[in-house]
């Protein structure tokens, strides 16, 4: 069939408009639901740093949100460790909506650093642990996660890592529970208070039980492991002033808990 140019153009225009309307309509309708799903996913990751994975998996989405609401308080600090409540335009900042990945593109001094405080139910002062977001580069794409510190702000309570495109079976193993469990109980500062972070070692299968700053590595995923190491070290250093402040200024808080 040979059609006229006018027909082809009219057909294309109508098709484009119909498909365009369909797509924008769907995105309008699904937008709020997607936002909720993303929010839930985010909160699950935060809680994953302090909760056992099987407990978290057993919870329904509503329970997760409720639990998050009652157990997590959040704030945002700058590189100096000072709390930031309003942005330059005077809008209040919510820690949950700070995009760590977007902030990563700014220089460290200009970034916002959210902190999630896991506390006992109904009592924000009875802190269980501090959860800090971390972000960095793996082998192929971005990696990110959450590092939970105990109230001494030194001992690692737990970690969660996620990635966008690490190699399945190799680098992607950073999301596995048995890999993340290796970080539990490790220390990020040495006895003199120097930042050491926790470093994943080369090779796999060794026992680093007695070593406070080392964890077993990922065989075949050295670059991803290095990415994780850099990510942790960088972000702990960005939060260091906050940690220092917390340690020196708020000794009462720690005393109450211990």
């Amino acid at each position: 069939m040979q059609q006229s140019n006018g027909y082809i153009i009219t057909f294309s225009v109508i098709l484009t408009v119909v498909l365009g309307l369909l797509l924008s309509g769907t995105s309008q309708v699904l937008g709020p639901i997607q936002k909720k799903a993303q929010d839930l996913d985010n909160k699950k990751q935060i809680l994953g740093a302090v909760m056992a994975p099987e407990d978290l998996r057993a919870m329904s989405p509503e329970e997760v949100l409720e639990y998050y609401e009652s157990r997590i308080a959040s704030k945002v600090v700058d590189i100096e460790g000072n709390e930031v409540e309003k942005d330059s335009e005077g809008n209040s900042i919510v820690a949950e909506s700070v995009d760590v990945g977007k902030n990563y593109k700014k220089s460290p001094e200009d970034r916002l650093y959210p902190i999630f405080i896991y506390h006992e139910e109904g009592n924000e002062d009875a802190v269980d642990s501090y959860i800090l977001p971390v972000y960095g580069a793996g082998l192929w794409d971005e990696i990110w996660g959450y590092l939970a510190l105990q109230t001494d702000l030194n001992t690692v309570e737990g970690v969660t890592f996620s990635h966008k495109g690490e190699t399945p079976g190799l680098g992607a193993r950073i999301t596995e529970n048995n890999v993340q469990a290796r970080y539990q109980g490790k220390k990020i500062f040495d006895e003199s208070g120097e930042l050491r972070a926790v470093i994943m070692q080369k090779g796999e299968g060794k026992d680093y039980d007695g070593e406070e700053h080392k964890v077993d590595g990922l065989s075949g995923a050295t670059i991803t492991a290095n990415g994780v190491n850099d990510m942790l070290k960088n972000y702990i250093s960005y939060y260091e002033s906050y940690i220092e402040k917390k340690k020196s200024g708020n000794s009462t808080e720690v005393a109450v808990l211990n």
Binding site: F11, S12, T26, S27, L30, A37
Partner: protein
């Protein structure tokens, strides 16, 4: 499949709703004219998403939806589509459907959305989709086009599910996320453990499994490439 046939039975048509010819539309692509093993189309996604059963199932359902709906749409429009721009029209329809699937996954199955990420988008470039539109939907009635699309998509689905079954079992020691290796090795005492095969979680593993499936199938059907 049951919903498809149920719908089909409601409609009235001069030809039997599931006549021999129409049954062949569905059954041919399953084995004799399988899009993956015989036509060797859609290999890329068959390699990429098949490390685990669950995402593979979601992928299979998505592909079934896209092919059936695209075939239906193109078949309904077949007399109005200007032939000079038909490829781009097909592409626009397929891209729209795929975006819809992606949006729905993002809203209702966020974990799957994260896992499949770019591969859902890549359904657009899945040669099976465009191939069916060009070869069948443009020249056939809507109901036949639905059957044809469904058959092809099913042929694609069972192959990727089979590949995923072996890759997950051998590579991760589980099926649908349920651990299989652990309880088995538990039977033989503390020191015994079944090793998972790392090759199976990399795309190479998919090539090997796929090659074996094609080999077995062609040995049985006696199919020879011309």
């Amino acid at each position: 499949m049951s919903t498809e046939t149920a719908q089909a039975e409601v409609k009235k048509s001069s030809e039997a709703l599931l006549s021999k010819r129409r049954k062949k539309l569905i059954s041919d692509p399953l084995v004799d004219d399988n899009p993956i093993t015989i036509q060797v189309l859609g290999i890329c996604s068959a390699l990429a998403v098949t490390t685990q059963m669950q995402p593979t199932l979601v992928m299979a359902i998505s592909v079934i939806f896209v092919i059936v709906m695209a075939n239906l749409t193109i078949s309904l429009l077949r007399n109005t589509i200007p032939s000079r721009v038909r490829i781009i029209v097909q592409l626009a329809v397929v891209a729209t459907l795929v975006t819809l699937v992606n949006e729905v996954l993002k809203a209702f199955a966020f974990d799957m959305y994260k896992e499949l990420s770019v591969f859902v988008g890549l359904i657009i470039t899945n040669c099976i989709v465009m191939g069916r539109l060009e070869a069948f939907a443009l020249g056939n009635k809507p109901y036949d086009a639905i059957l044809d699309g469904f058959g092809s998509a099913l042929g694609y689905s069972w192959i990727i599910l089979a590949v995923a079954f072996f890759r997950e079992l051998l590579g991760s020691g589980s099926v649908f996320g349920v651990a299989i290796y652990e309880p088995i090795s538990g039977l033989f005492g503390e020191d015994f453990s079944l090793a998972t095969n790392g090759l199976m979680v990399s795309p190479v593993g998919a090539f090997i499994i796929l090659g074996l499936i094609i080999w077995v199938q062609r040995t049985k059907t006696g199919y020879v490439e011309h």
